[in-house]
Amino acid sequence: MNIIEIRDLKKDYPLGDTIVPALRGVDLTVAAGDFMSIIGPSGSGKTTLLNVIGCIDLATAGSVKVGGREITALDDRQITDIRLNKIGFIFQTFNLIPVLDVIENVEFPLLLMKRPAAEARRRADKLIEEVGLKEYAAHRPSELSGGQRQRVAIARALVTNPDIILADEPTANLDSVTGASILELMRRMNEIEKTTFIFSTHDANVLKYARRIVRIKDGLIEKEPVAA
């Protein structure tokens, strides 16, 4: 079953008087539970594609279905609900909320969903334990290393049981050992939680973790798909 179906996706950015095409007609389908990597050089459109799939940016043209639902016709409130309920994000720079401690960062999406505080805390506790940060639960992000912060980000992305987790260059700010451990963790989580993982990278070392690799260049899918 396809969790994502993209047809002829185009995305343009205005740059002064000119229009810069970032995506020039992308067709892509992603099966549920996949562990997929989007690779390509800088400026190829990886982040833009992830942003459109993750409903944090709007397509200029084309069709994007997430979980069978066409997202290009939705208003901001509906799109925000999809982001909250269906999608988890892992960012290159971790993007944790600095005023919240680890456990509060992880339970944050559940509280946005208006889940009872006790239930949110239980679920967050479980995930923190799974990512190996139980003893850091009360720490603020500024007290953690890069790898630990990214683990928190992974736990936060998983906490709502989303259909898809999108990770934009998740290891770019980490050393190779930590990066590998993060990818291991993501892979393990993919297996445990059966969540679809899509991550972008331009690091060839990362590719060995992906079950499916999609190459993108100049806003177009270049070679599709390549078996891991």
Partner: protein, 586 residues
């Protein structure tokens, strides 16, 4: 709850910046609280001290025959009855005062002799207010009642110094009584008071009954009434309107017996209005059998109906005697009337009615107020007299209500022009009679508000700039929470809540600071006699009256303005697209 937690934690994130902005806000609130309390203090002094003692919050004034100097109402009990059941009246006092020339030891000066009802008794609150406003430095208030002292008075320290008199000295005063006669009296200085109110410095207090006697009032008569109202700014007009309604006059009637050559008959004496329009109407209604309208319309004109004239044995030109019981005296009053005309036919107001020109009628009526119709006797109804109901003299002339000084002045100019024959009654509020003093309060309030507005403007610029800086710094964070699934409205509310809490804490600190500032300022002693603003002082100190609604209002105002100011940058932050916000530092 989540938003509150985030907002509070974010507040602590930029401690130095928020402390600086919070301090500016706290100083603003502090100034606002002090200004507000000072303004309330001024209002309290104005309305509950100055106005209360100078004109009262509401005043009922009487002018017999429209004579501005002749302030007298002949039925004191009647006017007190009109204010008796009004729940918003805290106290009703007779206001009898006069200007006099006082001659002390080698010096003379003008004084205002004010009657004080020391026998009335005061509530604890009233006693405290009097003691606060007039602090006796020599003598006691009780001395004013002493029969052993000749006209004991309490004089202000300044006036005593000027007149070069001390306690137990005699001051001679020259004054004009209510009937325009020049009089002289001796007053004994029984006490010397200190007061902070410059309006009160020429005032010399004398026991009310003594003052009334000096001016020529009888015990059942009064000069004017001043009323102290609860919450006067709010209630003065309404109370004045209600009292005005209760003082609507009926017809002035004298239930008498009339005697002529043929015997004595019961009779009703009514006054007829003698203005040109009324005279014209009366001439149209009556058909005289003897006498003439020319004589009838003179001041001493008397019309007797033909039937009654026959029974009494009087004709035009003859005399008759009328006798009636007086309301406040035991013995009856007798008067001789000269019949000007006998009415044979036409529309006459009653078989036993003797009509007198209002001018002559009121001479009789006011000087000795008549008793009622007596047990079993029927009261005369002017309403039943048809066309005459508008032509017979009323008990008094109730002046229309006015609501500002301009209209009030016009009203009194009209009184002087109209030459009313009856006593005029005017119900007025301090807003009409003392608007100049009240303007001072308004001016002070405007100055305070202007200063506060400028201060607010500066503070609000600080709020906007701080928030814009905060939003710029946290743009990526906004993108993160939006990407995670926070709705736009929640992002906006988060920033507004931050401003709300900052303002709330600053306001609490500012209020506390305000109370400390007020305490310190009220410790400073001023010398009111050397200070034109002495009337704004209490016991030589600045007077602050903080009120919960005032402070809560100030705090709510600053919070509301801050929140409204924060709304726009907060909304701009909320409207950022998540992708744009996330890419802010990229």
């Amino acid at each position: 709850m989540l938003l509150i937690k985030l907002s509070l934690r974010n507040l602590l994130r930029q401690k130095r910046r928020n402390i600086l902005l919070g301090s500016a806000m706290a100083i603003g609130v502090c100034i606002l609280v002090v200004a507000n309390s000072f303004s309330h203090g001024i209002s309290d002094i104005m309305f509950n001290k100055v106005m209360n003692y100078v004109t009262g919050h509401v005043a009922i004034r009487f002018n017999e025959r429209g004579g501005v100097m002749r302030e007298i109402f002949r039925d004191r009990a009647r006017v007190f009855a009109a204010v008796k059941n009004e729940p918003l009246i805290e106290s009703a006092d007779e206001a009898v005062g006069m200007f006099a020339r006082a001659i002390g030891n080698g010096r003379s000066d003008n004084i205002i002799l004010v009657g004080v009802d020391t026998r009335k008794g005061l509530s604890e609150k009233g006693r405290k207010e009097v003691e606060e406003s007039f602090r006796l430095i020599e003598g006691t208030w009780k001395d004013m009642e002493s029969p052993a002292i000749e006209n004991p008075v309490i004089i202000s320290e300044e006036k005593a110094r000027y007149l070069n008199v001390k306690k137990n000295d005699i001051v001679r005063v020259r004054f004009r009584n209510m009937f325009g006669q020049d009089q002289a009296e001796r007053l004994t200085i029984a006490g010397i008071m200190k007061n902070d109110n410059i309006f009160m410095q020429p005032v010399v207090f004398l026991e009310l009954s003594r003052e009334k006697k000096m001016l020529g009032y009888r015990s059942y008569e009064t000069g004017s009434l001043k009323l102290k109202i609860k919450d006067p700014q709010k209630n003065a007009f309404a109370v004045a309107d209600r009292i005005h309604e209760k003082l609507r006059p009926g017809t002035a009637v004298i239930y008498a017996s009339a005697a002529g050559r043929s015997g004595r008959r019961p009779a009703i004496l009514l006054g007829f209005k003698s203005d040109d329009q009324s005279k014209k109407q009366i001439a149209g209604l009556l058909k005289l059998s003897s006498g003439s309208f020319e004589k009838t319309f003179r001041k001493d004109g008397v019309i007797v109906p033909a039937g009654l004239a026959r029974e009494l044995g009087v004709t035009a030109g003859s005399e008759m005697t009328v006798r009636y019981d007086r309301k406040f005296e035991k013995t009856p009053r007798e008067a001789v009337l000269h019949v000007s005309a006998v009415c044979a036919a036409g529309d006459y107001p009653g078989r036993d009615v003797i009509l007198l020109s209002d001018s002559g009628f009121y001479d009789l009526y006011y000087f000795d107020l008549p008793a009622g119709p007596g047990p079993g006797a029927e009261a005369y109804s002017a309403a039943a007299a048809g066309a005459w109901s508008g032509l017979v003299a009323p008990e008094w002339v109730l002046l229309k209500r006015t609501f500002n000084t301009e209209d009030y002045t016009k009203k009194y100019q009209e009184i002087a022009r109209n030459k009313w024959k009856g006593t005029t009654i005017d119900v007025s509020t301090m807003y009409e009679t003392a608007s100049d003093i009240l303007k001072l309060e308004s001016v002070l309030n405007i100055i305070t508000i202007s200063a506060v507005l400028v201060l607010f403007f500066i503070i609000l610029l600080g709020v906007v700039n701080t928030l814009r800086m905060t939003i710029r710094e946290r743009t990526r964070e906004i993108g993160t929470v939006r990407a995670i699934g926070m709705q736009r409205s929640d992002v906006r509310d988060m920033f507004i809540l931050e401003t709300f809490f900052l303002t709330l804490f600053s306001s609490a600190a500012g209020s506390l600071l305000g109370f400390i500032a007020m305490r310190l300022l009220s410790l400073i002693t001023f010398h009111p006699q050397d200070n034109p603003l002495g009337m704004l002082l209490v016991n030589g100190h600045l007077y602050f009256l903080p009120t919960f609604p005032g402070i809560a209002g100030s705090v709510l105002l600053i919070i509301a303005i801050a929140v409204v100011t924060a709304w726009f940058p907060a909304r701009r932050a909320a409207n950022l697209s998540p992708a744009q916000a996330l890419g802010h530092f990229s």
